[in-house]
Symmetry: C2
Subunit: 187 residues, 2 copies
């Protein structure tokens, strides 16, 4: 059961006139509650060839390792959101953001946008949503304890790309779809 | 005045515990109504060096020319959304989508993601949200009647880039911020 944000009347699922999708619509005031995909912005923060990971203190995937990332907010750019998340989750200043990975996850209405960044002064702490944060070299990555497919792919891209590129600004953009069945579709 | 989507009680603006932003929160059931930026997906559709534009049959900017573009929907990728909008607004099949422009418009909580595409068989019609659609060469573009800054910039990028690149897949990605004052900030 759902109610109208605008007038409080009980709302219903229907396809509005001229639309193709089911929406939550108010039969009393006709307000249509559009729900659209959400952008998750985050950072792959590098310091001396090591990657900054955060162990999640929240669900989903409590206790698993992730990149600093979260829902983009109104009033910020995608890059600003990625840097904000790095402060919040790792108490760290990410610098020189370079657009690196874009993942469509249509089944859950999410888009990940991840920036490759540097870590200012090599300093970090532990944000409120993290149990701990740490820098990992490639052979230290806890592959079986990575929280999300998007994080796993981004780490793999990085370790491959750095064999061919030195400057972060030369790293190629990866745009992929992540499906529920984890099949990969490249554009 | 706003009401809770979940229980219909009158909701209020407040900063939830552990948050930094004002949200619409229900004092009765504690439901938090998050509002996040929306993605607008669209296509710069090219046929024989000409650009497909649509004259808007809806507000805002009724009567002005735009690219086929609109709010991304849950269940589709960004590219799929761009192709869908091209069908809906110009009754045309866009093919070979190449990620081309990303604009952050933080003041209004929007992100534009535009693909450079081909036009299948050079065919198009007029979608329900358009007064008319047409192919324009560079010197025919109605610059004073373009609906949005994002559209104007994308057209400018295209006419510049095509002097240096032949194959659409070689066109560079443009990522910029559009501020209310229209100042340009490049990442």
């Amino acid at each position: 059961m759902a109610y109208c944000l605008q007038c409080g009347h009980q709302a219903e699922q229907k396809i509005p006139e001229g639309d193709h999708n089911l929406r939550l619509v108010c039969p009393s005031c006709d307000y249509i509650h559009y729900e659209n995909p959400k952008v998750i912005c985050g950072a792959l923060v590098i310091y001396e060839q090591k990657v900054l990971l955060c162990r999640r203190a929240i669900e989903p995937r409590y206790g698993y390792w992730t990149l600093p990332a979260g829902f983009m907010e109104i009033g910020e750019t995608i890059a600003q959101g990625a840097l904000r998340e790095t402060v919040e989750e790792a108490d760290a200043i990410a610098t020189n953001p370079h657009l690196y990975c874009i993942y469509d996850i249509p089944d859950i209405g999410q888009i990940y946008v991840l920036y490759l960044t540097d870590l200012q002064d090599g300093k970090f702490g532990t944000g409120i949503e993290s149990l701990e944060c740490a820098l990992f070299s490639e052979d230290e990555i806890p592959w079986d304890e990575i929280a999300f497919e998007a994080v796993k792919r981004t780490l793999n891209h990085y370790f491959t790309d750095r064999q061919h590129h030195y400057n972060h600004n030369d790293f190629p953009l990866h745009q992929e779809q992540i499906a529920k069945d984890k099949s990969i579709k490249r554009y």
